[in-house]
Symmetry: C2
Subunit: 183 residues, 2 copies
């Protein structure tokens, strides 16, 4: 019985990633910390963590068949040796977003904001994993995770900049951008 994969991000003074910067894009900040520990498997906040965020990955929510195939062809695995930079960007959307019907959310996400098409343009340079938190009663709805080589840092910033200008991002009410280097 394979279940959706669980992940715990714990920030504190220990962990397999060094926290290079924490930028509060929208809403409340997260407390400062120097290291991030990423734990896969059972939800397991690190003892003494300053903050911990739990997520679960799983099935796609908006991606359609043709997009899924295109993504599968170019999506790199996590953990590539050269991808020593990472970003954890937890996001919370507004009640207005969640009250929309499925077709309305899809229209904003893709027809108006080209979220999927935009992401595809930055593959395979940037590996990505989306975890869901909303159903767990967590402070964020999504925990987005990215891995890239140092020379792709500017490219990643460009992708974020484009996404933050979209119609979809008008529904983002909390976003923190945590930049990391793998130790």
């Amino acid at each position: 019985m394979p279940s959706p994969a669980r992940v715990t991000f714990s920030a504190g003074s220990a962990g397999n990633y060094q926290i290079d910067s924490m930028l509060t894009v929208t809403g409340e900040p997260l407390p400062a910390a120097t290291r991030l520990h990423v734990h896969e498997g059972a939800w397991q906040p690190a003892p003494g963590a300053v903050w911990s965020l739990l997520g679960v990955s799983g099935h796609v929510r908006y991606v359609e068949h043709a997009e899924k195939q295109r993504l599968a062809g170019v999506t790199p695995a996590l953990g590539r040796p050269e991808a020593t930079r990472a970003a954890l960007i937890p996001i919370r959307k507004s009640e207005a977003w969640w009250n929309l019907a499925q077709d309305e959310r899809r229209a904003i996400l893709e027809s108006q904001s080209q979220h999927i098409a935009l992401g595809l343009r930055y593959l395979p340079a940037i590996a990505r994993r989306l975890s869901h938190s909303r159903e767990l009663g967590e402070p964020f709805d999504f925990l987005t995770w990215f891995e890239y080589a140092p020379e792709h840092g500017a490219l990643f910033d460009e992708l974020l900049h484009a996404l933050r200008l979209t119609e979809e991002w008008r529904y983002v009410e909390r976003e923190v951008d945590v930049r990391l280097t793998r130790l």
Copy 2:
């Protein structure tokens, strides 16, 4: 910060519903019990429960704008005094279902199976609440809950019969049908 509502169904020898029958439709059964306790708010399995199932409700996953409006116009509230009968039907779908893209799942659910249209035909007689469990690592993906007056029992059976004949139901790998009377 309103979060999706949580619910805990605990079966045992105490609770606000009498268990009239438990029918295993597909897959593994649930252990027998005589009462069901429904708890809303924090997830809180009743002490000594034979089994407990946790769920979380929230935004719609397939319903489109026009359907959402139609549903809002005819969906009755839970807890109507005359609706003394209830059913808890936990459902688990196969990995094949969850590996489909969003448009493929929507096509099976509505274009081929008319799940939403079918349900609309039985409103306002049958009140319904869908809770999600998959993201919580629970044994079922959904906990479906229905409330109806005794005279609508045959109507409810008809709805279930129609749903179980659909293309969508070929992806159901576990289903238990628990019938209840409010005490």
